[in-house]
């Protein structure tokens, strides 16, 4: 297997990942279960379907919100952040 380990940051903490691994898989492997806070009730969410169908595992990656952590591969140096609500607070005015 091609598994050259590297790290990315999640909410300012270093998370190890392997080449080709999804952001969600790396987070779960590090014991992190949730990385989104829902828009209406403010509840934590993480992976549910794991195959890109349910859009529950949305996260902000390198400033882009609504990325599906379960299908996006992690890259060295990625800056991953918990997504609050719609993840578009920058647009509010």
């Amino acid at each position: 297997m091609s598994t050259s380990p590297f790290t990315f940051s999640f909410d300012d903490r270093a998370v190890p990942a392997e080449d080709g691994q999804s952001v969600a898989a790396a987070l779960i492997a590090s014991g992190i279960r949730s990385w989104r806070v829902t828009r209406v009730e403010g509840r934590p969410r993480g992976v549910f379907c794991g195959i890109g169908v349910c859009f529950d595992c949305l996260v902000t990656i390198n400033g882009s919100p609504n990325q599906r952590a379960c299908v996006i591969e992690a890259h060295p140096g990625d800056v991953v952040r918990t997504q609050e609500g719609a993840g578009r607070a920058d647009l509010a005015c």
Partner: protein, 481 residues
């Protein structure tokens, strides 16, 4: 032949665009290319194989079923490279009917592509079907497929102490895989009583191999001392930020919980699945006639050539009825042979077709027997609290769905969707469609119909795409938006 941003060139038109590179799509593409058809195989995944053969780069396949078959198909992709254009990492957001055929609109690495074909084959597979239960939105509750995908595709075990629950034969390999990977599986809770399956001995004999697989998984469970309980399931998950335990209860034949049977179990993870829901939005987009299958899922209707009701549109695999990988391979090959015949005139071998049709009939009756052996009766609705979330995206609860019927006079899921917003979120009803249809039909005092399911299955934009990307195509009559 590929159309890419770098090579705008004149539009290439494939004979066949295959949507999905799981068992059905791979079989379609390889069979069609082998008959001389120019094929584009479009898939969202980074590697072929779909959910069934989900794997990591360099995987030796030891953990997979029918891996030899996958290797042969993958070799087939390579062997027909001159005719077969495999587009991995392409997410289809719309399939457009054009005068000459079809244009498949995809997003790849954030850029739009158009892939053209004279025919399309919908081989989009399926995902775990879910019914809601209190606590099912708590992190640590996964679909069985998610747990499997993490394990097979990512090499990650989803948790330490895991409850596996739901219904259907898929629970067994998931639990067995977890146990072999070192997780503690606190139990497999099968809501049904699949022994009823024995009432169909003819089907069983013809599919002995499949049953042997199941027996193998059961042996693995026994070896790890994992309890396997039927007529039992997880009716609630506990914990606020992460799962800390579940309530497990025994069920009657209609899936109402038996009084006094509830007990709590400590665990940090739940893997749950109630059969499968076919991905049908592309078939629906194309206007294919849909019907409600024996397992209660909306599926595309196909004929003996895998043709849908729409000219030039074929469907194969789970999209025309959940039936497993073997059936998908057969239907895929049939679709590939017929689509190639229709577009290149390459007449398939009649005996091969006859053989495929016989095998399709056998696998379909096996699938129908499985659907009968693992039904999802409506009693799951009694597990719900009024504030149990139905639509995970829009956080719509049971009470809101029921109120739309009882107070607002909605009589179908589509109207409920417009009144209370279930299915209005980013997943567009993929997850809650089945449950919403069930709740609405119950509140309206009737059974679920194909129209009910259809009302939650229309997704004219199959995947979100940036408005800027959509707009950029405005000037382009060209092949790349």
């Amino acid at each position: 032949m590929p159309i890419s941003p770098a090579e705008p060139g004149p539009a290439a038109v494939h004979d066949i665009v295959v949507l999905g590179a799981g068992p059905a799509g791979l079989a379609t593409a390889v069979a069609a290319a082998a008959r001389g058809a120019r094929v584009a195989l479009v898939d969202a995944g980074p590697r072929p194989g779909g959910q069934y053969w989900r794997h990591r780069a360099g995987d030796d396949g030891a953990a997979h079923h029918d891996w030899d078959r996958f290797r042969r198909l993958r070799d087939g992709l390579d062997a027909h490279r001159d005719l077969l254009d495999h587009r991995s990492g392409h997410t289809v957001w719309h399939v457009e009917r054009t005068g000459a055929g079809f244009t498949v609109h995809t997003l790849h690495a954030g850029r739009p592509y158009e892939i053209r074909g004279r025919t399309v084959v919908v081989a989009t597979g399926a995902y775990d079907r879910q019914v809601p239960f209190p606590g099912w939105t708590t992190p640590g509750v996964f679909t069985a497929g998610a747990v499997q995908a993490l394990l097979k595709g990512q090499g990650v075990v989803a948790g330490r102490r895991i409850a596996v629950a739901g219904t259907g034969p898929f629970l067994l390999p998931v639990a067995a895989g977890l146990a072999e990977a070192g997780a503690e599986v606190v139990g497999v809770f099968e809501a049904g009583r699949p022994l009823a399956f024995g009432r169909h001995p003819f089907t069983v004999v013809r599919n002995a191999a499949k049953l042997a697989e199941g027996a193998g998984y059961l042996r693995t469970l026994a070896r790890h001392r994992i309890p396997y309980r039927t007529r039992t399931t997880v009716v609630a998950a506990h914990g606020t930020d992460s799962v800390t335990g579940v309530t497990v209860a025994r069920l009657d034949a209609g899936w109402r919980t038996l009084p006094g049977s509830a007990r709590t179990l400590d665990c940090d993870t739940v893997a749950v699945g109630y059969g499968f829901t076919p991905q049908t939005e592309l078939a629906v987009q194309l206007g294919c006639a849909m019907e409600r299958d024996g397992d209660g899922s909306l599926v595309a209707r196909v004929d003996s050539r895998q043709r849908s009701s729409v000219d030039g549109v074929y469907a194969a695999g789970e999209a025309c009825g959940v039936g497993g990988a073997r059936l998908s391979l057969i239907e895929g090959e049939l679709a590939g042979l017929h689509a190639a015949w229709a577009t290149t005139g390459a007449r398939p071998d009649r005996r091969r077709l006859a053989r495929l049709l016989r095998r399709r009939a056998a696998q379909r009756s096996f699938a129908a027997a499985l659907h009968r052996a693992y039904p999802v009766p409506g009693g799951w609705r009694t597990w719900l609290e009024e504030d149990t979330v139905v639509c995970r995206c829009e956080e719509v609860d049971v009470a809101a769905v029921r109120r739309a019927v009882t107070e607002l006079g909605a009589t179908d899921p589509r109207t409920v969707k417009l009144c209370a917003r279930p299915g209005m979120g980013l997943c567009q009803g993929r997850v809650c469609g089945y449950a919403t249809a069930g709740l609405v039909a119950e509140a309206d005092g009737r059974e679920v119909t194909a129209d009910d399911l259809r009302g939650m299955a229309g997704r004219p934009i199959a995947q979100p795409l940036p408005l800027g990307v959509l707009a950029a195509g405005a000037d382009g009559a060209g092949n790349e938006a």
